[in-house]
């Protein structure tokens, strides 16, 4: 075998898809365009007082979105995150009120609770041989039930400000950046790196692309799948703290409701294929920012707030539509 050769060797960069995909450029462009337009029509939009709360609202959705991206890359889905948020939030808030937990304990408790719920999903899905959407429809009901039991027909009142560091007021910001958003970005960056550069991450893509081939290649499919749900659970736990911090001093049963669709919307707008095998957390973060921009923008423009979801729907179609179109064009030659 001759090793002396002049041909261009495949470089690491070229083995992988580009670090930022076309879809992500499109999304960034759309978001920039929206921000500029909103800045022109409502001058207050591009001020810290407006952007900071926007980022605070983005943080929990994007954070769960990171986990959901893992799951959807493996060709699964988790529609139970709404119920899981509710359960984590109520346990944490209640413990904070009754035991006046310090910050690390409160966050630790919430993450542990989320991890446990994620594990329940993960075990049932990976080992139960039932499609993820069915299992998580079921567990969504269970989580909601347990959350309502913990609520015990009351709201949780007088939640102390322990969690304010996650983005409330001056204590919640460093250099103007809300901490919850910063934490989300750090976690998303780690997740991006994990998905792109570690065996575990690459295996998730392999599993979503062809689960049987992954098994034949010696990948332990079931533990990996289980971990994707468990990680999402843990992120839900952290996000529940963000939700508590972003709410008032009272926690009611509405917390978490309908968030599963918001998270899934962010993920699919971000270009992750619902069929598995392809996706990115950068896109998910951008997707979450886009949805929140649209919602805030509609309110700030003084348009009827009922229109916000119409625009969210239209943006999903545009974002996923361009992605489909690009793939089709790429497949042409």
């Amino acid at each position: 075998m001759t090793t002396e050769t002049t041909t261009v060797r495949p470089t690491a960069r070229r083995i992988l898809p580009p670090p930022v995909t076309g879809q992500e450029f499109v999304l960034t462009g759309v978001i920039v365009a929206l921000w500029v337009l909103l800045g022109v029509f409502t001058p207050a939009f591009l001020t810290p007082g407006s952007i900071q709360p926007l980022l605070v609202s983005v943080a929990p959705i994007a954070l769960i979105g990171v986990g959901m991206t893992f799951i959807i890359i493996t060709a699964g889905i988790d529609v139970s995150v709404g119920g899981a948020i509710m359960l984590c939030a109520v346990i944490t808030a209640k413990m904070m009120v009754t035991a006046n937990l310090p910050l690390p304990l409160a966050v630790g408790l919430s993450i542990a609770a989320g991890l446990l719920l994620g594990l329940v999903n993960g075990v049932l899905i990976a080992y139960g041989r039932v499609h993820a959407i069915i299992i998580t429809f079921g567990t969504a009901n269970l989580f909601q039930f347990f959350a309502l039991r913990v609520f015990g027909s009351e709201t949780v009142n007088g939640i102390p400000g322990t969690l304010d560091v996650f983005g409330r007021g001056e204590a919640g910001r460093t250099l103007g950046v809300p901490h919850s958003f910063a934490i989300m970005i750090v976690i998303a960056a780690i997740a991006w790196w994990y998905l792109r550069h570690t065996t575990g991450g690459r295996h998730l893509f392999a599993i979503g692309g062809n689960a049987n081939a992954a098994r034949l290649a010696g990948i332990r499919v079931q533990p990996r799948v289980m971990v994707a749900y468990a990680v999402t659970g843990a992120l839900v736990g952290l996000a529940a703290c963000f939700f508590i911090a972003a709410g008032t001093s009272t926690l009611d049963q509405a917390v978490g409701s309908g968030r599963e669709l918001a998270v899934i919307a962010a993920v699919v707008i971000g270009g992750t294929s619902i069929l598995g095998g392809r996706g990115s957390v950068i896109g998910t973060v951008l997707g979450a920012i886009l949805v929140q921009t649209v919602t805030s923008g509609v309110t700030q423009l003084g348009w009827p707030s009922q229109l916000a979801t119409l625009f969210v729907g239209v943006f999903i179609i545009i974002a996923v539509g361009t992605d489909l179109l690009r793939q089709r064009v790429r497949a042409q030659p």
Partner: protein
């Protein structure tokens, strides 16, 4: 029954008394096989004999119900693919098991990534990629392409590269040559020889018996899930192997079919599809069987899909019974009396968990009632029963799902679908691929019967024995063009030479494939 050599300690891998059932199907029965390091051990047998199942057990992809395995003399259990890979068992499966969205380079290393800490060491992988690709004869630039964009043959080569990426102690190749060209097979043989000289044990499965004599040292013959015999290849001839495989004397009679003089049903005139085939002229007459022979990737299959309207023609004319037509979709093709049996039974033919009855009538639902849009189940069953009888499909009832049938029977069901309404022109793409000898003969008989009744038949196949056996005329397709026409009394060497592009058949470089056939000795 076991004819294994006596020196057992020298075996790399040894399997004793292995059995395996799928539900009620006994895929493997008391099989024995033992492989020495540094040898190529061929595994042969008819379709469904259990070859793939046996090697899947070695690879940890399936689990034996009974039996013992030992590795370098140590008894072991292989309970997952990971176990097998850790022993150095590397497998190239019959169907490439790859990840379409990932690049070639990633595919090669999935499951055995080179790492630095937790991070995948892309640079080192890239380095090794270069050598691996050179070894299997693929260009360097391919390593960044998503596997989904490659041809089947390239995917097969990627699978081989993938198997070579690990440190193999046992290399399993399940029909690697079925979809490779001769040049590619030569490269593969070079690789195999290099590996065996380094002490790797190679298990090689193939239906091309001739090539075994060039690469294999030992051959094990399987029949009905049993290992019939294991012998040094030098002790056997092709004919002996074939007879061991089928368990009797091989005799196939060529169905008689007079030269057709019927009217022209299909005429192609300068027919083209950019990038696939170009300037194809052919005619098929009523009552005639025309064989369209080409190697995988020659474009023969594309001609069939365009005739049927699955793809669009980009040039030339197509005439059906003398009238020029443009076929836009299969529904229109069927209105013109053109029916097609697709090449890939599981992907394009079978509705797996639906009943045999639905699988038969699905193409002609209009026949199920006089009321348009209505479908009578009674009529559906009646039609299905009729075809089950006519084609001698082995099934207890027409309500069984097609997924529960053996390959040959499933193929008959898909074929029956094309006959529910009598076709004027029947296009058959690889009609007996993956079908064993008995069923193959029956399918051939059915095809000649149809021609006798006046149907024009175009058989698109890459099976040389088949094309010689049933065609009235043979057209050879190479690189998207029809390069030669033969009568059925042509020799295999002539036809293969035309298909592979050699000007003069040369027995040294293009050995005549030896197919089980009467005139062979």
């Amino acid at each position: 029954m076991s004819a294994l050599p006596a020196d057992e300690t020298a075996y790399r891998l040894e399997m004793r008394d292995i059995s395996k059932s799928y539900g009620g199907v006994r895929a493997i029965r008391h099989a024995d096989i033992a492989i020495r390091p540094g040898t190529v051990h061929a595994l042969v047998g008819e379709n469904g004999a259990g070859k793939s199942t046996l090697i899947k057990i070695i690879a940890g992809a399936e689990f034996a119900d009974a039996g013992a395995i030992s590795f370098n003399g140590e008894p072991i259990t292989i309970s997952s693919t990971t176990d097998a890979i850790q022993l150095g068992v590397q497998t190239v499966y019959q169907e490439p098991q790859l990840f379409p969205e990932l690049s070639v380079a990633e595919n090669v290393f999935v499951g055995r990534e080179l790492t630095r800490g937790v991070r995948v060491d892309w640079a080192r992988q890239a380095d090794q990629m270069h050598d691996l690709l050179a070894t299997v004869g693929l260009p360097d630039r391919i390593s960044t392409a998503p596997v989904g964009t490659l041809s089947i043959a390239e995917q097969q080569q990627v699978s081989i590269a993938k198997a070579l990426a690990g440190d193999a102690t046992v290399l399993i190749l399940d029909e690697p040559s079925a979809i490779l060209t001769d040049a590619e097979i030569e490269v593969l043989f070079t690789v195999i020889r290099r590996l065996t000289s380094a002490g790797v044990a190679v298990i090689y499965i193939s239906h091309r018996l001739d090539e075994l004599f060039r690469i294999a040292d030992v051959v094990t013959v399987m029949r009905d899930g049993e290992t019939i015999t294991t012998r040094p290849i030098g002790e056997l001839s092709v004919r002996q192997i074939a007879e061991l495989m089928v368990g009797g004397v091989v005799s196939e009679s060529r169905p008689q079919n007079g030269a057709a003089t019927g009217e022209v049903v299909l005429e192609l005139d300068g027919f083209s599809r950019t990038g696939r085939f170009d300037g194809v002229d052919l005619t098929v007459r009523s009552g005639e069987i025309v064989g369209l022979y080409g190697l995988v990737g020659s474009g023969a299959g594309d001609i069939a899909s365009v005739i049927y309207g699955m793809d669009k023609a980009t040039g030339g004319r197509m005439l059906v019974s003398g009238r020029p037509v443009t076929v836009r979709n299969p529904a229109q093709a069927k209105r013109l009396g053109i029916h097609l049996l697709p090449a890939n039974r599981s992907a394009q033919g079978a509705f797996s968990f639906q009943s045999i009855a639905l699988n038969i009538v699905v193409g002609e639902l209009g026949l199920l009632s006089r009321i348009p849009g209505w479908a009578s189940r009674r009529r559906e069953r009646a039609i299905a029963q009729e075809f089950i009888r006519r084609l001698a499909v082995k099934t207890p009832t027409e309500r069984q799902p097609i997924s529960a049938m053996s390959g040959g029977n499933a193929q008959k069901v898909v074929l029956a679908r094309q006959l529910v309404k009598r076709p004027a022109l029947l296009v058959l793409a690889e009609p007996t691929q993956g079908v064993d000898v008995g069923a193959k003969e029956e399918i051939h008989r059915i095809i000649s019967g149809l021609a006798d009744e006046g149907t024009a038949v175009l058989v698109v196949t890459s099976d040389l024995g088949e094309v010689l056996r049933i065609s009235d005329r043979i057209l050879v397709v190479r690189a998207g063009q029809i390069t030669a026409e033969f009568r059925p009394d042509a020799t295999q060497v002539e036809i293969l030479a035309a298909a592979a592009g050699a000007d003069t058949p040369d027995a040294d470089t293009t050995p005549a494939p030896i197919v089980i056939q009467e005139d062979q000795t």
